[in-house]
């Protein structure tokens, strides 16, 4: 409770700062600055990759990013890979005694392509820990072999609730799962739209199905009577659009990824459906806005990720290194990498040692406090709503 209030106070301060800086920037241009919700500032005690600069480790020590780099929904993976790389670079710069190598393995983003690259990482004895895998389906596919290898695995973005129910001792989730996000999204939609009916549309991924179930349950069968299904890589949605037109809902919730969400929302708008479009973290990417052209405007996106604009040191370093602002889950990936790196700095020089370090970890990161329950879920899991405003994704409000 105390923590909550502190966070709220911090958020207020950040908001004030944002409003002030907004005004300052506005002076000349006269561009209408739409209201932005408060984004939390960097906590004072947040662990950073640099550590205390006294880290010692054997040459060649590595951590790995395993996840999509060029495959399906690659933009989500690149945001995570970049942030991981940034953390490793900052760590190495600050710690001359401990130069950690980052191994990047492209999982392709799907369950069937992820197994080979993951096995290659397992077979590399220098790799002590993994940031990834980003998606739920692939995480499920490679989970057993990672668990057997005792290779600690912090996912910064896979949110399917079932992943922590497999008894894996090496799997840690760096954010809230869909059993948190789904009900939070449902609760928010209920207060926001006061709906008689909401269409819940899902894709055929583990992620989409799990999230849609959570949302449907929380909304109740009456409200979520309109259920639609689409397929991965589908691009023509006339049947789904027809279904939505007939149900005439107060809102549409899409459980899936941006690749399908962009054409879907465009075809909905073309057909004259004006109901608000609500998507989850898998849709929260610039690619959604770009690919839906004007049609994404006004869409709401829920995400168990924390707004990053307040973490100025991080966002500036990221911007400088990659030429773009950090994307969804960049900060979570940065935090995950920081935890692994701090363990290595503190002498965890083997897979079991690093695994044990993460298991008992308790510390503040940029995004939240990291302390895991025995099943690998975090104790503290904030969810936020974002909004597409023109061609930008802006923070709308936290769901409390």
């Amino acid at each position: 409770m105390v923590r909550r209030r502190l966070a709220a106070a911090g958020a207020l301060v950040a908001a004030a700062a944002l409003v002030l800086s907004g005004c300052a920037n506005q002076g000349g241009g006269g561009a209408a600055q739409t209201s932005q919700a408060p984004a939390p500032a960097q906590p004072n005690n947040a662990a950073l990759p640099a550590g205390n600069g006294q880290g010692k480790c054997a040459p060649g020590t590595s951590i790995a990013y395993v996840g999509t780099l060029a495959g399906q929904n690659a933009a989500l993976g690149q945001a995570i890979a970049n942030a991981t790389e940034l953390a490793v670079n900052q760590h190495n710069q600050a710690n001359p005694g401990c130069q950690v190598t980052l191994v990047k393995a492209d999982s392709g983003g799907t369950p069937d392509t992820a197994v080979g690259p993951t096995q290659a990482v397992i077979n590399n004895p220098a790799v002590l820990g993994i940031v990834g895998l980003p998606f739920s389906g692939e995480s499920k596919a490679v989970g057993p072999s990672l668990n057997a290898a005792g290779l600690v695995n912090i996912t910064p973005s896979a949110t399917n609730p079932g992943l922590t129910g497999n008894g894996w001792t090496n799997f840690f989730r760096g954010l809230g799962n869909d059993a948190v996000q789904g009900p939070a999204a449902a609760k928010w939609m209920k207060t926001k739209f006061n709906p008689q009916s909401i269409c819940v549309i899902k894709d055929d991924s583990d992620y989409g199905i799990g999230l849609a179930n959570a949302v449907t349950q929380a909304l109740g069968p009456q409200v979520a009577a309109c259920q639609g299904n689409v397929k991965t890589n589908q691009k023509e949605f006339s049947a789904t659009v027809g279904q939505v037109q007939q149900a005439n809902p107060q809102a549409i919730f899409y459980a899936g990824y941006y690749t399908e969400a962009a054409p879907l929302v465009q075809q909905l708008r073309d057909a004259g459906v004006q109901a608000p479009f609500v998507g989850p973290d898998g849709v929260k990417d610039e690619q959604f806005v770009v690919n839906a052209a004007g049609s994404a405007n006004g869409a709401y996106l829920t995400c168990p990720c924390v707004p990053q604009e307040g973490f100025t040191a991080f966002t500036q370093a990221y911007q400088q290194a990659y030429g773009v602002a950090p994307q969804t889950y960049s900060a979570e990936a940065y935090d995950s990498a920081t935890i692994l790196l701090s363990g290595i700095d503190k002498g965890a020089n083997s897979r079991p040692a690093l695994l044990n370090y993460v298991k008992t970890y308790n510390g503040q990161g940029l995004t939240k406090k990291f302390q895991w329950q025995p099943n690998g879920e975090l104790s503290e899991t904030p969810v936020y709503v974002y909004r597409v405003d023109g061609d930008k994704i802006v923070t709308d409000s936290p769901i409390s």
Binding site: A70, A75, N291
Partner: protein, 314 residues
């Protein structure tokens, strides 16, 4: 639900089925002449899609909301982009034949070798696009906003659908006329019917094969324009995969090797899969399409209209 949406589904199916049909023509033409299933045809289609997309870029359009330009300008731009897409796809199809299939034919390779080469060529072209353009779809550029023009039993018919259906039929009749009424077309039919005799009668077999690939590529390029107009997010490296399989299924459904069969198969497939998803839900779309294919093949193994490019009377 099904009855309410019947006419909307029919119109959507006709318009999307026209795209299937245009791509299916490419499969059918090559099969008719070479008995080769050109699995790389879906990538020829993707080359057309990127050709159209890059023409949009070159014309100064940028990804974002649909711009407001006069109708004459839109038509000119679309025709130009379509022409570029057709030419690129046509040239690519001919090159593919030169590089991948002709050397095999010279060495009298078994039919299986052609098939594997076709699959290999398909992956190569796909991955080249992935390496150069990444796996995210290209930013959306749309010139023409779909607007209902009139209604059939309450179902809106958009300007986009009218253009696609009319233009596809025009393309089809042009191709059909070319194969059935011109001297070159007669050569194509002769080679399809009996390559050895046709060669003895003075038909240049290599030239006929080239023309066949060119024609298939041109039609795929036209399909690419209509596809990108319908699905502006379609310019992506693997965008041809599912559509290619559907178009191939359409060609088999109508009777592979038969031009009119490809048209009929494409339209039926487009309409039936729309009925299917309306009846059973969105994830049944492909199931319905392929159950239909299997069902038809059980009773008519040669497809609805039979294999007949080679027959003197089509």
């Amino acid at each position: 639900m099904f009855l309410d949406r019947f006419w909307a589904n029919t119109i959507n199916g006709l318009s999307y089925g026209s795209i299937y049909a245009l791509v299916a023509l490419g499969y059918t033409l090559v099969y008719g002449v070479l008995q080769l299933i050109n699995f790389a045809h879906s990538e020829i289609f993707v080359i057309g899609v990127f050709g159209v997309y890059f023409t949009f870029l070159a014309l100064g359009f940028v990804p974002g909301a649909t711009p407001n330009i006069p109708i004459g300008g839109i038509i000119a731009d679309l025709v130009l982009a379509g022409a570029v897409g057709m030419i690129l796809a046509g040239v690519a199809a001919v090159l593919l034949e030169r590089v991948a299939y002709r050397p095999l034919r010279r060495r009298n390779a078994p039919r299986l070798a052609f098939l594997i080469t076709a699959i290999g060529a398909s992956f190569v072209i796909q991955q080249i696009f992935r390496i150069f353009r990444g796996s995210n779809p290209e930013g959306t550029i749309r010139l023409l906003q779909p607007d209902p023009v009139f209604r059939i039993f309450g179902a809106p018919v958009t300007n986009l659908q009218i253009i696609i259906i009319l233009a596809s039929f025009a393309m089809f009749f042009a191709a059909d006329g070319f194969v059935n009424r011109t001297r070159l077309g007669r050569g194509v039919r002769a080679v399809a019917q009996d390559p050895a005799t046709a060669t003895l009668m003075g038909v240049n077999r290599e030239r006929v094969i080239m023309i066949t690939f060119l024609l298939g590529g041109l039609l795929a390029g036209a399909a690419a324009l209509f596809y990108l107009m319908t699905i502006p997010q379609g310019a992506v490296f693997n965008g041809g995969f599912l559509l290619g399989i559907k178009a191939f299924a359409a060609a088999v459904l109508g009777g592979i090797g038969n031009l009119r069969g490809a048209l009929l198969g494409g339209l039926i497939l487009g309409i039936v899969e729309n009925y299917g998803q309306s009846l059973f839900g969105g994830d049944w779309r492909d199931v319905v399409a392929f159950v239909l294919l299997v069902g038809v093949l059980m009773f008519r193994p040669t497809g609805i209209l039979g294999e007949s490019l080679g027959k003197a009377r089509v």
